[in-house]
């Protein structure tokens, strides 16, 4: 590689890295406790809850929904989801549709009695703060998109780092760390080693992080392109619903949806007006039963006023990419061992970022050959 080319790549590596280092350090530090979110929650809030009537039949989804709406008079339902390991149905409500996340209310209900399940409250506020800091720096969509841009700079820094690895390691064996030279030289070798062996992982986490920051535009694009016809057709229904006309049975809607896609199971329900649905439909999200397809969701739309089955709407490729990018970013899809490795790689990334900053802050050696 010519000296001029090396210089150009060095310029890209230096400035893309410096521009995003502070934000990446924040993302790595906040990401560390988030990897163990489930374990921290379980440790701080030991499971003491038991269903009221363990042997009784589960209440219907309509009964649970009514219990949730009685709990919050005047609220509108937004989402309904289901715990896997206990008979609990979670209902998210808000004062109106389109309400920001911070004004939504999340309540869990005992599916055997309809009573409220006490929320895990210890440490929840701290974890929520860390999560929001990680996702959007508490700035909403602009914060998310900015972090997406930071991710783009990070990917540029990784690619330029890989390109620069060759001229730097031309005369050195793989994993050589020269401890006889200056401290800076030792840290340069460590920076190169830690960076190159974790390249694949940081690229995957970086790229999936970028995709995750595009969640809102992706959902909007899906609604604008794939649900456009339904939204246009159902303006009248939506208007009728706003006037408080009765809702069609949720149980019947879910039964129709599950029957329409027999090889999938229920994941969650998005009510009319929520981000994941139109203004007039229950969007019933089903996911696959196999390890791969469980990350791919398919919404079935049912008219929320008439209960008419509208059809299956396959998510487009970019929504599928979003679904797959979540587990690959969080590393929470293969149990605690993978989480521990994720944490170790996260710490290695912090060292790479810190050593990069140190190398920049330290005075560069006058003789480039000594590098």
């Amino acid at each position: 590689m010519q000296a001029k080319t090396v210089k150009a790549w060095s310029f890209i590596h230096k400035w893309t890295s410096l521009a995003c280092t502070v934000f990446l350090l924040m993302l790595c530090l906040t990401g560390l406790p988030l990897i163990f979110h489930d374990e921290i929650d379980a440790a701080l809030n030991p499971p003491s809850w038991q269903p009221e009537n363990p042997s009784a039949a589960r209440l219907s989804f309509d009964q649970i929904l009514n219990a949730a709406l009685n709990e919050h008079k005047g609220a509108v339902p937004l989402y309904m989801s289901f715990d896997i390991d206990r008979p609990v149905v979670n209902v998210t409500t808000g004062p109106w549709v389109g309400v920001p996340d911070t004004q939504m209310t999340f309540r869990s209900f005992d599916a055997t009695s309809g009573t409220v399940v006490p929320a895990a409250d210890r440490g929840e506020t701290v974890m929520e703060f860390i999560y929001q800091l990680h996702v959007d720096m508490l700035l909403g969509l602009p914060g998310m998109l900015f972090l997406g841009f930071v991710g783009f700079l990070f990917v540029l820094a990784i690619v330029s780092g890989v390109v620069l690895y060759a001229p730097f390691m031309k005369r050195l064996d793989f994993a050589a760390v020269r401890s006889t030279g200056s401290t800076r030289l030792k840290w340069l070798d460590l920076h190169n080693l830690l960076g190159i062996v974790t390249t694949a992982w940081v690229l995957v986490v970086g790229l999936t992080g970028i995709i995750n920051t595009l969640e809102t535009p992706i959902l909007e694009a899906w609604k604008a392109q794939d649900l456009k016809d339904l939204i246009a057709e159902n303006q009248a229904t939506a208007a009728a619903q706003r006037q408080g006309l009765p809702r069609a049975s949720l149980d019947a809607a879910i039964r129709q949806a599950v029957a329409a896609v027999p090889n999938m199971t229920l994941q969650f329900v998005a009510f009319p007006g929520s981000s994941y649905s139109t203004s007039a439909h229950y969007a019933i999200f089903l996911h696959g039963k196999t390890p791969v397809t469980q990350h791919i969701v398919t919404p079935v739309l049912v008219n929320a006023a008439t209960g008419d089955f509208v059809g299956l709407r396959e998510m487009p490729w970019y929504s599928k990419a979003l679904s797959l990018s979540r587990p690959l970013h969080f590393g929470d899809y293969a149990g605690l061992p993978l989480k521990l490795i994720w944490a170790a790689l996260d710490i290695v990334t912090i060292i790479v970022l810190g050593s990069g900053l140190y190398l920049w802050l330290c005075k560069r050696p006058s003789n480039p050959r000594s590098r």
């Binding site: 690895y165 060759a166 390691m169 031309k170 005369r171 050195l172 064996d173 793989f174 994993a175 760390v177 401890s179 460590l190 080693l193 830690l194 190159i196 062996v197 974790t198 390249t199 694949a200 992982w201 995957v204 390890p291 791969v292 990350h295 797959l324 587990p327 690959l328 899809y333 293969a334 149990g335 061992p337 993978l338 490795i341 170790a344 790689l345 290695v348």
Partner: protein, 57 residues
């Protein structure tokens, strides 16, 4: 210090770790029973040269 090495030799070992890591990530995603452990070993393989640095000391 040795003479200059060709690019393919410089990137040979890093490519092995990168391939193992990607293979492990995909394998964990399509996991099915015992492949889980293999996936975790593959992803974790890139930590091996880092651990070896401390042993060399």
């Amino acid at each position: 210090m040795k003479g200059p090495r060709p690019a393919w030799r410089i990137f040979a070992k890093p490519s092995v770790y990168a391939t193992l890591c990607l293979f492990g990530l995909v394998l964990a995603l399509v996991k099915d029973g015992p492949t889980d452990l293999l996936a975790i070993v593959c992803v974790g393989a890139c930590l091996f040269p880092i651990v070896m640095i401390f042993f060399k000391r």
